[in-house]
Symmetry: C2
Subunit: 507 residues, 2 copies
């Protein structure tokens, strides 16, 4: 007898007795019905999503007018809720999985990951220690090793190294912040050994970290939250260059500061530019600076051999993060983080109450010591389902299709001499603009927003005060047709603009 | 025509073309089949879970011997994966939803929440700003108001107050930490106005926060991470008392420190003790100390009128958190956090890149400014499904059933004069021990672990060096039979012990 079979005879009387005092509106039988209806609902939604407007036509506050201001006292019927999903929720959704969604970066999703996620929800364990669900910790260790091998990360980052290893976080923002805290503690320990007279606050006041002006906003925020000075390194053609960094470090050392942390980005959010680790890494090493590498979006593509060179120099990094939940078909949240020496993190986080101790401590990681949160969901199941159902080959095909389509969009735009491409296209992002001033590009963007056929966002290069439009290939099943549709829409809208208006001719 | 219907005619050719370059192993049709099988798998698992051992019989490292050390290059078959779920994953699961799981605190789950979660995964939006999916932000605002009303929180915490409001976090640990950071910034701003000569590091070195020795380990950790002094307030009968706190504040002020933050706990993790907000609140107010209230577990019960008095004094709090993912049938993660004045948090977190700006800013909260992470899942759907399918009445019944059963367990244990109850039973937790020394209780616990019929954990009162056992009512469908089974198991095991052994007679 397999306990996972559905056998009427196995239903326990306990659940019947329980109904005297606590009657769930939805029991296992009802869940079989409603859960399957929800599967159909999701499949239908994703199959027919292009019937909907990609961006919602609602104003702030639309929703609270449509539902009760107070919670219901008595249970409601399932059908009422699903009716509201259709009439209240769906009109307010920005459809991230719409074929014409080209904003931000992709949010990963796949049917495989959703199946893994349903299983994770069903098991519903909280894996803060090994003992709280051994499979949850152990599968995560192996999945992080699988991903590390796909990326050809140095052996130091694999669990077999003893001190290194990977862990799933919620988001890159958390990784950048935690790496900073670990680096801070490492630096304070080092400085206190050098000079016992300085207390940790004096040392903190002298610590200085570095990030490119193209880095994600979470880096600046990590500095704000930790109250530690983070200096913006002026990029050259959107790259953080070793010479500039070296100069700043020299200046800070001369002024009595303690350089300790540097964030390099592989695939910036603004324009998908790549810092050169080969150039930055040796400088960090020479100054005992903790190098953290953020490859949130582009990291997924580095499993393709033709892009792996972008990771050259990763051996200088102390920590590395990328988001399978962006571009590797694993739905949010699943941010993959590695530390070369996890002890710095564990020591930063360890407090150890009795009710969380267990007999097998020390033999496997207790991930509660690896991050801010204590509770954690069984997220490695999603990675497991995706990697096995697609294989590395399948994921590479998916990535390469997106990149190929970005180059198609680039080629189409370059074929129209009213437009320029403002950043080298390496991954699935194309940064373009109308030649001319920012006003004309603001007008184009505003018209695209108003038109509603496609959804994109803008960004800017602050050094040259250049506003541009970002076209990201996001749709899981994207084809040339979708790219041509977006291109056609943009050209169509551009053709309706009076490009010779005085407003646009002013510089 | 409803786009959410499954209509063969609606399938778009785009997806067929796409298969030339990228063939997903699982398309919508396959998801209909496999997703529904997964629904059955989860329903069967939860219905028949009592056929399994509640705690797994595996040793650390068991899993990596059972699966490949390398990721698969080619896609695998679905059935292989599900076979491995049965043979590799399930043997390593601590079954949190087993009727005989009485460890830690409950991890909430319900079929209603799982349905909401599937929908959330299917929509797959990332709600960092209002524009990135208006429904995601707006439903969250209303759901947090619903919960606030159920708890009868002061109006300051409702969104209608303008400055107050709620937000969903991952865990309480994050809330405690973020509240500390906001309180830190508020204190630094205030102190700098008082004395311009002190820089932020000098002020930081003088800041001091307070927490009970019974508070959750995440409070001490928030201090470590923020590098801010947190002083442990010695509890009296597990309660943080105003007189002790007052004395410490006085002492710190005399020594030139700046008291700024205090965490009070409603329902401690160790023994479910309650700090008195009525006593602590006015002291915090008098000294401009940010009072943060952590009701992680017990918060759910405060929606029952007979327990609402435990929240008296909440009007003194600046922030409040409880976990619907513990005891309100909403599966992990869903931690509900309120701030009386969200501006302190928003100001702490705000960095503002162009690619996240949108036209409707300022009319609705952009939750990216409210926490460490940027990306966020559509979690309010889970709350919405649970509150509507159960109604407030249904949730109250569920809570009251658990508390009634805890009192039954208490009564049974008190009927055996070998045992003592070491903490007043208020919620669903009973703290008990064999009268005598810690050795005898260690032995009892070790035998319960070895026996495997039920799963509980221990804790200790460090002030009296008293080890005890924690019995938590966790099972969603718990009945008197389950409590009697646990009691019978403990008595059975106790009867097999030689309580007069020399080892146990030593104090």
């Amino acid at each position: 007898m397999n306990v996972f079979d559905n056998k009427e005879s196995l239903r326990k009387s306990g659940r019947k007795i329980s109904h005297d005092v606590y009657t769930p509106k939805m029991d296992a039988e009802e869940f079989r019905k409603r859960g399957k209806e929800m599967i159909d609902f999701v499949a239908n939604y994703l199959e027919n999503i292009d019937e909907l407007k990609v961006f919602p036509q609602v104003e702030p506050g639309y929703l609270h007018k449509m539902i009760s201001a107070d919670p219901p006292i008595k249970p409601e019927e399932w059908d009422n809720i699903m009716n509201d999903v259709n009439s209240v929720i769906m009109p307010g959704i920005t459809h991230w999985h719409h074929p014409h969604f080209h904003a931000y970066f992709p949010a990963a999703n796949s049917y495989a990951a959703m199946c893994g996620d349903i299983l994770s929800g069903g098991i519903g364990c909280i894996g803060f220690t090994w003992a709280s669900s051994p499979a949850c910790t152990e599968l995560e260790v192996v999945m992080m090793d699988w991903l590390a091998k796909m990326l050809q990360l140095p052996k130091d980052f694999l669990s077999e190294s003893g001190t290194g290893g990977g862990v799933i976080y919620n988001t890159c923002s958390e990784a950048t912040f935690v790496a900073l805290l670990a680096a801070r503690n490492k630096a304070i320990e080092f400085r206190r050994k050098e000079n016992l007279d300085e207390d940790q606050y004096t040392i903190m006041s002298k610590l200085v970290g570095y990030y490119s002006d193209q880095a994600h906003s979470s880096v600046e925020r990590a500095g704000l939250l930790s109250m530690i000075k983070m200096r913006e390194v002026k990029s050259i053609k959107r790259k953080m260059r070793g010479s500039v960094l070296q100069e700043m470090i020299k200046e800070d050392l001369e002024n009595g500061f303690y350089p300790f942390y540097c964030v390099a980005t592989l695939g910036t959010t603004g324009s998908c530019a790549f810092d050169s680790l080969d150039e930055i890494g040796p400088i960090c090493e020479a100054h005992q600076i903790w190098l953290h590498v953020d490859a949130a979006y582009a990291g997924s593509a580095l499993i393709c051999q033709e892009y792996r060179h972008l990771l050259d120099g990763i051996e200088y990094a102390m920590s590395f993060v990328f988001n399978p939940h962006k571009w590797m078909l694993v739905n949010f949240d699943c941010s993959a983080v590695w530390f070369k020496d996890s002890r710095f993190v564990v020591e930063t986080f360890t407090v150890d109450p009795v009710y969380l101790k267990h007999k097998k401590e020390g033999k496997c990681p207790d991930f509660r010591h690896w991050h801010i949160q204590l509770g954690r969901r069984f997220r490695s199941l999603k990675i497991w389902f995706v990697l096995r159902l697609y294989g590395v080959d399948g994921i590479q095909k998916y990535i390469r299709n997106h990149i190929k389509l970005a180059h198609l969009f680039e080629k189409l735009m370059l074929g129209d001499d009213r437009f320029e491409i403002v950043e080298e296209v390496t991954m699935g992002l194309v940064c373009f603009r109308l030649k001319g001033n920012n006003e004309i590009n603001k007008e184009l963007y505003s018209r695209i927003e108003g038109d509603g056929r496609i959804h994109i966002v803008t960004s800017e290069f602050s050094d040259t005060d250049t506003l541009y439009l970002r076209f990201a290939v996001c749709y899981q099943f994207a084809t040339e047709d979708h790219v041509k549709y977006a291109y056609g829409t943009i050209i169509d809208i551009t053709n309706q603009m009076d490009l010779c208006s005085d407003l646009f001719l002013e510089k």
